[in-house]
């Protein structure tokens, strides 16, 4: 069944303190609508590393979320943005956190007669800093060896971290997920070299990443630490710049 004619599910809007994206919004639609805010640049970072322009004309936000693949790049970004999803069936709508919607690899909470209609996330504060890092063999048309998405918010004086969400893909046998122990270690701290170093070390202790013909688990576990470091340094620079 082809849903692509439902143009009412193709939108990006700001409403009630949230950013709401219709499930049939294509990656290309999103590319043309994101602004220069922290979340806009965050999404733009993943979009410009997503497939190719040809693929972005057709691929939709909803399609990518519902594919629930372990290599998915948009899912870590939406998890870092604390996204929730809205579904629709004859008997009504449901809302749930994205992580809950993703039941297992290639499996979502959708019933047979239900569709995903929207993904939304709270509009980040002006102090928020985000970074998406993807490792692939090429710049474009490439499946991620591993990707990391980081979202940080700081207190009013921009010194201590008040919110931290870090999500990554390529976890062994799993859909993309947050690494909460690493997030917890960053809370109420300044984002200095010490905090970055201990976050990277803690990530290294936690993980089992997948092994396949593209890269071994050992390689991915080393690479992901570099990506987290890059993401945190990127956030640090964004916080300082403001």
């Amino acid at each position: 069944m082809d849903l692509s004619g439902l143009s009412e599910l193709r939108y990006v809007k700001r409403e009630d303190g949230e950013i709401k994206i219709g499930a049939l919004t294509t990656i290309g639609d999103l590319e043309r609508q994101v602004d220069n805010s922290a979340w806009g640049r965050f999404l733009n970072d993943v979009i410009t590393k997503f497939g190719s322009p040809n693929i972005r004309s057709l691929a939709t936000i909803g399609g990518n979320i519902c594919a629930a693949s372990s290599s998915e790049d948009l899912i870590p970004v939406f998890l870092a943005l604390d996204a929730k999803v809205k579904t629709l069936r004859k008997s009504g709508t449901r809302e749930m956190p994205l992580q809950e919607f993703l039941v297992a690899k290639r499996k979502t909470a959708l019933h047979a007669d239900e569709i995903l209609v929207e993904v939304s996330f709270p509009e980040p504060s002006a102090r928020a800093a985000c970074s998406f890092q993807k490792l692939g063999m090429r710049n474009i048309l490439i499946i991620a060896l591993v990707s990391v998405a980081v979202f940080l918010d700081t207190d009013d004086s921009r010194s201590n971290i008040t919110q931290a969400r870090i999500a990554l893909n390529r976890l062994k046998g799993k859909i993309p997920q947050r690494v909460k122990s690493v997030e917890k270690g960053l809370l109420d701290k300044r984002l200095d070299e010490h905090a970055i170093k201990s976050a990277v070390e803690r990530l290294g202790e936690e993980l089992t990443l997948t092994s396949d013909f593209r890269a071994s688990s050992e390689y991915r576990c080393e690479a992901v630490k570099v990506l987290l470091r890059r993401a945190l340094v990127d956030c640090q620079q964004n916080i300082l710049k403001k």
């Binding site: 082809d2 692509s4 290309g28 410009t48 497939g51 190719s52 322009p53 040809n54 693929i55 004309s57 057709l58 710049n139 474009i140 048309l141």
Partner: protein, 151 residues
């Protein structure tokens, strides 16, 4: 389709690629991988590049589609086509229709693209002969020519 309406009854599983090649005889649309990777079957649909192997024919209903047959004629080539010839930017030629469409679509939306923007715009079309540089230079040149003509 290239400025003309076509009324066709299609199967629900027919790909746009097959309808273009086999039913409308637009053989400039090439099939490479058939799985959305190589971009050789690129067409412009409502102003966006798409791989026609990934579009079902029914999804193209009421859409404006441009294939290489709708871009230029032998007598009156599109500036992108002329520039590709000038730069010798084709070898086997299999990706060339898609490259022309990617270049044309770029200059339609962005009259003075940078080389980085050109790389991005053609990144969905794989070329295994030329190493891309001549293609990038040619599109850059064509964009300049088009802007000069316009001004």
């Amino acid at each position: 389709m290239n400025g003309k309406d076509h009324a066709l009854v299609v199967e629900s599983t027919e790909r746009l690629l097959d309808v273009l090649r086999d039913r409308l005889d637009l053989k400039g649309v090439k099939e490479g991988c058939g799985t959305g990777d190589c971009g050789t079957c690129t067409v412009i649909m409502d102003g966006r590049l798409v791989n026609s192997c990934l579009v079902l024919a029914v999804q193209a209903r009421d859409k404006k589609i441009t294939t290489i047959e709708g871009v230029g004629t032998r007598e009156k080539l599109h500036p992108v086509q002329k520039a590709l010839m000038k730069y010798g930017a084709a070898q086997c030629g299999f990706c060339t229709p898609a490259m022309v469409l990617a270049g044309k679509n770029l200059v339609d939306h962005n009259p003075s693209p940078s080389k980085e923007e050109i790389k991005e715009a053609i990144s969905g079309v794989l070329c295994r002969c030329t190493g891309y540089y001549k293609i990038i230079d040619a599109i850059h040149d064509a964009a300049k020519e088009i802007s000069e003509v316009r001004s």
